[in-house]
C-alpha cells in the first residue's frame, strides 16, 4: 500500500446497520488520488446518476486524501464530502478545514461511505479502526454546537475525560434535518463542508453526526525525500507575503476592499459591483473591532502554517454572539448581497448559519434573491406576513436565517435555494445561479476568465473550481488583463485541472498562492512512494474533471445549455465603477474552452475519455446515447 493512506474504507449500510471494511486497489488510488477524485470515481461506480439526491439510493462519501493529516504538508487539515447534490443534481464535492479530517485518518480510515437510510436518527462513532452506529434520537433537533458538546461529553466517558478534546465531530443542524437544499455539514463547530446541500443528504439518511478519535498516524514512504519536499514547501509559504502576512492578520475578508475597489463586489443581488459601505464589513474592520485573538489560535486548522481563521464576538444588543468566522464569502453574502453594512447583524447571521447548519454563501445569496423579489413586488403580502424584507435590514437578515433552517413561513421557500425560490414567484431571471447553485462573491462582468470558470463549473456556481480572480485581480502568479477574454480558456482549464488535484490530495487551496504542481508532485511522491510528475498530476486533474462532467451528463443531460451564466451577467452592462459598461463575454471563450477540453457541445468525447483511461465511461455514455458525435 502506498504511504499516506490507511488503506481502509468503511462502508455503512444505514438500513441494515451493517458495517463492512474494504481497501481500494493501488491503481485506483494512483488514478484518482483521494478526496474529490476518488469520490467521483466511487460515485460513478455506485450511484445511479438519475437518482433523487434525497432518496436512500444516493450515497455520501466522507473522504480524506493521501496528504491529509501528514505533519509537514502545509494546510493538510482538511476533508471532503462527495455526493449527488440536492441543490444542483450534479456530482458535488464540499470541503472543510478544522481538525476533523486528520482525525478521521488517525481513527484508521481514508473514508466512510454512507449508504441507504436509517429508520431512526443515528451517529457514527469512528475510533481505533472500527465504526459503531449509535442511537441519536436524543440529539435530533440540536444545533451543531450543542450536538458537538453532547457527543463529546457522551464519548469522553469511553476514552477518558483527558482525551475528550481529541474527539472531533462533524454534524448537521436543524437545516439538514429539515432537508434544506442549502444545508451544510459543520465540523469543529465552525467549519463547513458548505456548498451543495450535503447536510440535507445526511439528514435524509438520518445521520446526525460522525465522531472520530484515534492515534494512528499515516506512514510516509520516503522520509528523507519528504523532509526535503516539506522544507521547500514550508519555505515558500513563509516567504509569500500573502500566506505569511495578509491572511493570518486579516483573514480572507481582507479581499473585501480590493474586490470592491475593482468594482466586482456583487451588491444587492448582482445589481451592481460596488458597495459604498464595504469597509464596514472588511477584514481590516473585523481585525480591529470584533476579533478575539486568543480564541483565534484555537480556530486555526490542523497543521496549518497560514492560520487565516477568525474568532469573533459581538456584545452590543440587539445582536450578540460569538464564534468562528466570518469569512470573505459570508461577509459578502450576508452583507453586500443583502445590502447590509451592520457588521454585528452580518456576524450574528453568520454565527447562526454555522449553528443551524446552513451554507453561509447560499444563505446570504438566497436572502438577496428574496429581497429583490420583494422589491419587484413578486412576493404576496400574505406570504410576507408583515416582514419588512428591504435591502440592509439586519433584523430581517437574522430572522430569515432562522426561518430557513426551520422551514418556517417564507423560510420554507428560501430553504429550496435561489433558483427554486425565484421560479416559484415567477421571476427565474432573478436567480444568480449556475446549474442551480448560487454564485459567490465576484461579479464576472469585470473578470472575464472568472465568468468562464463559473459557467463551466461542474458543481454549479463556484469560485473554487478555478479561481481566476488570482491572476485577473490579485496578480498571482502573474497579472493578466481582467477585461480581456484572450487566453482565458486555457487558464481556466489549467486551474480547473490543478484544483481538482488539490481537492483530491486533500489540502487547502490557499497553498496554491505559494505552491503549484511541482511542489505537490514532490510532496505526494515522497509520502506515497510513487514517482509522480507534475504532468501526471495535471492528467489526473483532467481525468477528474471529465469524470465529473460525464456523471452530470448521465444525471441531467449536462452540456452547453448549462455552461452559461444568468442573463443579467451576459446582457446587462455593469452600471457603475471600474467595470462600468462591461458584460461577461462568454461566447468569446466557450468555443476555445471546449476545443482545449476535447469536448463537443459541453460533453466529453470518446477520444478524450479514452485518452484519459476512461473507456468504460465512454461506453456507458454511448449506451445511453449521450456520447457526442
Amino acid at each position: 500500500m502506498p504511504g499516506g493512506y490507511t488503506g481502509r474504507l468503511a462502508r455503512i449500510d444505514l438500513w441494515s446497520c451493517k458495517v463492512t471494511y474494504e481497501s481500494l486497489p493501488d491503481e485506483v488510488l494512483r488514478k484518482w488520488i483521494g478526496g474529490r477524485g476518488l469520490g467521483v470515481y466511487l460515485a460513478l461506480k455506485e450511484i445511479p446518476p438519475k437518482v433523487d439526491p434525497l432518496s436512500p439510493s444516493n450515497k455520501a462519501y466522507v473522504m480524506t486524501g493521501p496528504l491529509t493529516g501528514i505533519a509537514g504538508v502545509p494546510a493538510s487539515g482538511r476533508w471532503c464530502s462527495v455526493t449527488k447534490s440536492p441543490l444542483t443534481n450534479s456530482i458535488h464535492d464540499a470541503h472543510s478545514g478544522g481538525k476533523f479530517g486528520p482525525y478521521l485518518k488517525f481513527a484508521g480510515f481514508d473514508g466512510i461511505v454512507l449508504e441507504e437510510a436509517s429508520e431512526r436518527p443515528v451517529y457514527l462513532w469512528v475510533h481505533d479502526g472500527k465504526v459503531e452506529i449509535r442511537d441519536a434520537h436524543h440529539l435530533w433537533g440540536m444545533d451543531t454546537h450543542s450536538v458537538t458538546d453532547a457527543i463529546t461529553e457522551e464519548l469522553s466517558a469511553e476514552v477518558g475525560k483527558s482525551e475528550a478534546k481529541e474527539i472531533k465531530v462533524a454534524c448537521i443542524g436543524p437545516a439538514g434535518e429539515n432537508l434544506a437544499r442549502i444545508a451544510c455539514i459543520i465540523n469543529d463547530k465552525s467549519r463547513a463542508a458548505g456548498r451543495g446541500g450535503h447536510g440535507a443528504v445526511w439528514g435524509s439518511k438520518k445521520v446526525k453526526a460522525i465522531a472520530v478519535y484515534g492515534k494512528s498516524k499515516p506512514s510516509i514512504a520516503d522520509l528523507d525525500k519528504f523532509r526535503e519536499a516539506s522544507a521547500a514547501a514550508m519555505k515558500k509559504i513563509k516567504e509569500s507575503p500573502i500566506t505569511s502576512e495578509a491572511l493570518p492578520k486579516y483573514g480572507t475578508a481582507v479581499l473585501v476592499n480590493i474586490i470592491n475597489n475593482a468594482g466586482i463586489f456583487p451588491t444587492k443581488n448582482f445589481k451592481t459591483g460596488y458597495f459604498p459601505e464595504a469597509n464596514a464589513i472588511s477584514g481590516e474592520t473585523i481585525a480591529s473591532t470584533i476579533m478575539d485573538w486568543d480564541k483565534q489560535k484555537e480556530e486555526v486548522c490542523w497543521g496549518c502554517p497560514i492560520g487565516c481563521a477568525r474568532y469573533t464576538r459581538i456584545t452590543k444588543p440587539p445582536f450578540t454572539g460569538e464564534g468562528g468566522g466570518p469569512e470573505y464569502e459570508t461577509v459578502w453574502s450576508l452583507g453586500a448581497q443583502t445590502g447590509t453594512s451592520d457588521l454585528a447583524a452580518v456576524s450574528k447571521a453568520h454565527y447562526l448559519t454555522n449553528e443551524l447548519g446552513l451554507d453561509g454563501i447560499s444563505m446570504g445569496h438566497v436572502i438577496g434573491t428574496f429581497m429583490e423579489l420583494v422589491e419587484l413586488g413578486k412576493i404576496p403580502k400574505e406570504v410576507l406576513r408583515g416582514l419588512k424584507a428591504e435591502w440592509g435590514n439586519g433584523e430581517v437578515l437574522v430572522e430569515l436565517v432562522w426561518r430557513t433552517a426551520y422551514r418556517s413561513g417564507i423560510g420554507c421557500d428560501l430553504a429550496e435555494g435561489a433558483l427554486r425560490l425565484a421560479q416559484k414567484y415567477g421571476a427565474p431571471e432573478v436567480a444568480m445561479v449556475v446549474r442551480g447553485q448560487e454564485l459567490p462573491a465576484y461579479d464576472p462582468r469585470g473578470a472575464q476568465g472568472h465568468g468562464l470558470a463559473y459557467a463551466t463549473s461542474n458543481r454549479g456556481g463556484c469560485h473554487l473550481r478555478a479561481y481566476l480572480i488570482s491572476p485577473e485581480v490579485l496578480g498571482v502568479p502573474k497579472l493578466v488583463d481582467r477585461f480581456d477574454t484572450k487566453g482565458k480558456a486555457e487558464l481556466v482549464k489549467h486551474f480547473q485541472d490543478v484544483f481538482a488535484v488539490v481537492d483530491s490530495l486533500v489540502v487547502c487551496k490557499f497553498d496554491t498562492f505559494a505552491l503549484w504542481t511541482e511542489d505537490f508532485a514532490s510532496l505526494l511522491s515522497a509520502v506515497t512512494g510513487w514517482d509522480i510528475t507534475p504532468k501526471e498530476l495535471e492528467v489526473i486533474g483532467e481525468r477528474i474533471y471529465n469524470a465529473e462532467r460525464a456523471f452530470n451528463v448521465l444525471s441531467f443531460g449536462d452540456g452547453k445549455d448549462y455552461d452559461t451564466l444568468p442573463k443579467r451577467l451576459l446582457e446587462e452592462p455593469m452600471p457603475e465603477g471600474p467595470a462600468k459598461g462591461h458584460i461577461t463575454r462568454l461566447p468569446e471563450m466557450l468555443g476555445e474552452y471546449y476545443m482545449l477540453r476535447g469536448w463537443i457541445d459541453g460533453r466529453p468525447s470518446r477520444i478524450k475519455l479514452e485518452e484519459l483511461g476512461l473507456k468504460w465511461l465512454a461506453d456507458r455514455l454511448e449506451e445511453e446515447g449521450l456520447i457526442p458525435k
Binding site: A246, K249, N261, G263, G283, S470, L479, R482
Partner: protein, 93 residues
C-alpha cells in the same frame, strides 16, 4: 487638482491613516510624483520594496479601480478627482 489616496491591510497598519486627499498646483502629476509627495507612504514603500519600481509588480495599485500595469505604471498621469488605492500582496477566497 485633487487626488485621493487610500491604503489598505498592513500598509494601513504601518501608516496609521487610511485615506488622504492630496492637492497639486500642476496638472502634470504622475503616480510616482504622487507617492513621492507623501513622505511616510514613500518611505514605507521604499523600506518594504527597496525600490519604487518594484511597486507595480509586487503590490496591487489601482487607479480608479484599474490596475496601474494596464495604464502606464508609475508614469501614469493622474487627473483631477482620481482615486489611487494601494494594497500590499493580499489574497483570500
Amino acid at each position: 487638482m485633487k487626488v485621493l489616496v487610500e491604503v489598505y491591510a498592513t500598509l494601513y497598519d504601518k501608516l496609521g491613516w487610511r485615506s488622504k486627499e492630496v492637492n497639486f498646483n500642476s496638472n502634470e502629476v504622475s503616480l510616482e510624483d504622487l507617492i513621492k509627495s507623501i513622505p511616510d507612504l514613500y518611505n514605507t514603500l521604499i523600506n518594504d520594496l527597496g525600490d519604487l519600481t518594484e511597486l507595480i509588480n509586487n503590490y496591487i495599485v489601482f487607479i480608479n479601480g484599474i490596475h496601474a500595469q494596464f495604464k502606464n505604471g508609475l508614469k501614469t498621469v493622474l487627473r483631477d478627482g482620481d482615486k489611487v488605492a494601494i494594497f500590499p500582496p493580499v489574497a483570500g477566497g
